[in-house]
Structures are given as C-alpha cells and as structure tokens.
Amino acid sequence: MKQSTQTDLVVRSCRMLSERAVLVVMQACSPVPPVRPGQFLQLLLPSCKGTYLRRPYSIHDFDERTGTVSLLVQLVGKGSTAVAGLKEGDVVNALMPLGNGFDLEKPFENALLVAGGVGMAPMYMLGKELRSMGRNFTYLFGARGESQLLRLDAFREIAATAISTQDGSVGETGLVTENSILGKGGFDSIFCCGPTPMMKAVAQYAVKNGLPCQVSLEHHMACGMGACLCCVEDTVEGHVCVCKEGPVFDINKLKWQI
C-alpha cells in the first residue's frame, strides 16, 4: 500500500494570523494515504521565483473524509513568503504525507505537548488524535509575546492550555521550562516541537525527571523521502535522514548534549 502520494492541492483559504505567520487550508485533488500527527508534506510553489526545490511544512491538520489539509507556516524566506501569497483557487503540488510522525504506540496516561512559536503547527493534529484516543494531555506553549501564539482559541477547544511568554503578555512570564504546570501536572510523557534551544531545554527537563520525550526536528531538505541524504541528524545510529527516520525522534536517539 502506498505510504505517500503526489497530488495537487487547491487553496481554499489563506489567512495571515500575525505579521509572520499564515494559515493555509487546501483541498487534495486525489486520494491521500493515511496521515499521522507529526508528518509533513513537500510543497512545490510554481509562483515562487528564485526557488527551485520543494519546501517541507508540518501538517497542521488533515481531514481524511474531505481531503482537506491545513498548514501553519512561519514567514522566514522566499518559500514561506510565497505560501503567504497564495489565493483561493490557486493550485500547488504536494508530496504527502512524509516522515514518521509522533510515536503513539508507547503507553502513557497523561501527556504534555510543548511547543514554541510555529512549533505549534503539528500539535493541533496531535491533540485531535490524542483526544480521539481518549488520552489525557495538556498543551504548554511558549513564545516571546502574544503575537507569536497562533490559533490559541482552536487549541483551547481541544485541551487545557498553559502558556509562558518572555514579555509576560499572556500566561506566566518566562520560559516553558519555568512554567508552574510542570510542577503540578503529573505528566508521564512529553511531545515537543519548537526552536532547538527550547527543545533541548525540554529534553533536559524530561531526562532529569525520567520522562519519555519525543521532539520534532526541522532540517533543510531537498527530496523529503530519504534519497538525497541532505537533511541528516547525528544520532546513536549515525547520520540518519530527518525526512525519513524523523522528523520526530525519541531524545534517547539523538546525540544532544543534555
């Protein structure tokens, strides 16, 4: 059975959530194999001048009944700027789904889903999946300030949400690793996506407290399917492709100094 497919996507809506983030909702033109939370797609943007390769984006949400896929994209360069410029009816091409996603096979009762900035993207679909599995979980989001917190209302509909901002504009002031929820949560598993320094700090917390922890990495990619060997991460098994063996890794597999 196919794990992934190439399909055109028709843009249904494209809405700026902040000065630097956009939510794009698109409809697949052909059947898409099952999508797991934490997987990504490779988007080809024909209108994007000056780029050549596809761009990998985390899948924010996917409705398998309608083939509707949502992306939460941070504007960082030419590719994401072109994503923000998409209009209703535009057609882009995607390879999807790709990567392994979060491993939800291991037993846990009460998970903490930690994200920073646009690392919130895969946490929406992960939360929906955990809810349908009947698992307890809490969101913990970190950002510099309020404008970097994306779709908070949508997340709050799924689960209780704790927040840390560096400027104190929402939630507690400080870093996610300083949030008081860590002291009272009784969590037995952590899923994390965000800037590397944040993920390392969360991994450190997990190690110190003996909690299993999965992190979602973001490396520059060319192919997205394990052929070009460009997006490697150094692991206990040597260099492995983030696109194929990841993007989600158990922290015990990584060679992070934590």
């Binding site: 196919k2 190439q6 080809l44 390769l53 060319a222 052929a227 460009c230 490697v232 991460e233 040597g238």
Partner: protein, 303 residues
C-alpha cells in the same frame, strides 16, 4: 511508436533514461510516486568499500535554479549493500547499476570485484569525480594519468559494463575521457557536480559544513551539454549525458549533442515521477518528429 532501445557497452536499455546516483536512493524510495520499471535503468547511491558517515549537516544549499550538496558519499559500505540491499532490489525489472567510489585504487578494485559477483547487477558506474570527499573521489578524475590508472585496475577486476563518471572540474574533459577509454572503460557519463559554494551574508559564514560543495540542477545544463558534445566527438565509446535535465526537450538536446543515454538527477527532488515522464515523453517526441528510433537523433546536431 519509435524504438527507444539503446546500448551502453553490452548493456541493453529499454529506453535511454537512467536515474543519477545519489538522487534516487535505491529506487525503492520512489515506488509510491512512479513505476520504476519504466526506466532504462537505475544508478543507485554511491557505494564504498567501508561504511561512510558522510559530512556533517548542513550538506545542502539551494541556489538559483539548482542546489549545492556536500553529502560526502554517506553509505553503509559494500558488505551492507551485498547482504541487505541487493536482495531487495535484484528483482526490480530494470537495469540496476551500482555507483562505485573509493579513496584508493585498492578500494575501488575490491568494491568493484564484490559487485562483479552479483548476477543481477549488469553494470557499475565508477565515480572518479565526487567533489565532496577529502581523499580519492575527484582527485582521480582530474588528471588523465590517475584516471586511467584507476580504470585500468578496475577493468581487470570487473567483467561487465564499466561506465566511468567524469568530473567537469577540469580544463579539458575530453582528455580525461580519452584516457579512461584507453584504459578499458565501456562508457563515460558526464557531468558530475560542479564545485561551488554558498555564503550566508548575515552570519558571514559558509552555508555548507564543508564550505564548498557540488552544484547541480538546471543552472548547470549549458555546461553539461557543451561537455557532452565535446566528449562525444572525442571518444568512440558511448557517452551518457547528465546535468540539469528537467524535461523531455532537455533530454532530446543531450541526445542530439551525442549522448546515447541520459541520467536524471536533481530534478527527481522536484518531481519524483519526472524520470518516468521523460522516458515516455522521449517516445512521443520521436513519434511527433517522424523519427523511428533514438539512434536517429544521437549526435544528430547540425552545426
């Protein structure tokens, strides 16, 4: 329908489209997106005698109409290939060709002789042109004498079709082509990547961990075409052309310049089904231009 068959040494290809080493994994990676048996052949990832970890991340930089890579021949070594990969790919119904690399002549010879024993591998592509490794690789391919030396040694150990992949990072590629032809190569493939670099002005640092890397993609096509044209005139063995092929017309241009087959490389990353589309498209192009076979257009450039 035009006859798409072509020959490289004793290797018979159903059509002239091969996939370039390092851009198509072991073929299996692309099965979700296309029928890989519709290709003339698949040249699998570069294989060395011992396992190689390759270079540190970052290994890739996008450039205008192309990319730089500095993978550095990451692979699990020939033993792993023979024991774990070969059984999974040997029954794929197309020519499975192994790209062989090394850091010494003895390495090349040992790896080639191990592959020689594999019944379902009809050819190797000898990589004397990798720009991303410190020892060996391109060092062999930039000098006619050392290129001939490694090819001569491998020729004695390898009895099937021997393709030698040439580096464009030389003053006169025809000199190297003639040298490896004289040393017993059945074919030459060109071009490997062009040495380049990318800089991040904000950080004042190189983008690649190795500072320099190999450039590929549509931006290199005019250089590749020129070198294929020059080389096809300079040698009698068949030339395989590659470098920036993106579409059917690009492939036809290489055939006109004298290539008997072509390889699709970086374009596989943009459209994973492109090689199958180009294979089918060459047939349609020949039909619509009143050509009965690929042979009719190989080297048919008028100038």
């Amino acid at each position: 329908m035009a006859d798409l068959k072509t020959r490289i040494g004793s290797l018979e290809l159903e059509n002239p489209v091969l996939t370039a080493s390092g851009t198509f994994g072991y073929g299996l990676e692309y099965q979700d997106y296309m029928d890989i048996t519709k290709l003339g052949g698949i040249i699998v990832k570069g294989t060395t005698l011992m396992p190689r970890q390759g270079n540190p991340y970052p290994r890739m930089a996008e450039v205008h109409m192309g990319m730089l890579n500095a993978v550095g021949l990451q692979n699990k070594g020939v033993d792993y290939f023979v024991n774990s990969i070969y059984p999974a790919i040997r029954n794929i119904d197309t020519n499975m060709i192994v790209n062989v690399s090394g850091s010494s002549i003895a390495d090349y010879v040992e790896t080639a002789s191990r592959i020689n024993e594999l019944e379902d591998i009809p050819a190797i592509e000898l990589n004397i042109s990798c720009p991303n490794v410190k020892q060996g690789g391109m060092a062999f391919g930039v000098n006619p004498a050392s290129a001939a030396q490694v090819v001569e040694a491998v020729r004695k150990a390898y009895s099937k079709t021997l393709i030698v992949k040439l580096s464009p990072n030389v003053t006169d590629i025809t000199e190297i082509a003639r040298a490896v032809e004289g040393a017993g190569a059945d074919s030459v493939s060109l071009i490997n990547t062009l040495l380049g670099m990318a800089i991040n002005a904000e950080t004042r640092r190189p983008v690649l961990s190795t500072v320099t890397g190999g450039m590929s993609g549509p931006a290199v096509k005019p250089i590749a075409l020129r070198m294929v044209w020059q080389t096809a005139k300079a040698v009698r063995i068949p030339v395989i052309g590659l470098g920036g092929i993106q579409c059917v017309t690009d492939a036809i241009e290489f055939l006109l310049a004298g290539a008997r087959a072509i390889e699709i490389g970086t374009a596989n990353f943009v459209d994973p089904a492109i090689s199958e589309k180009i294979a089918a498209g060459i047939g349609e192009w020949l039909d619509s231009h009143g050509c009965r076979s690929v042979d009719e257009i190989v080297g048919a450039l008028e100038c």
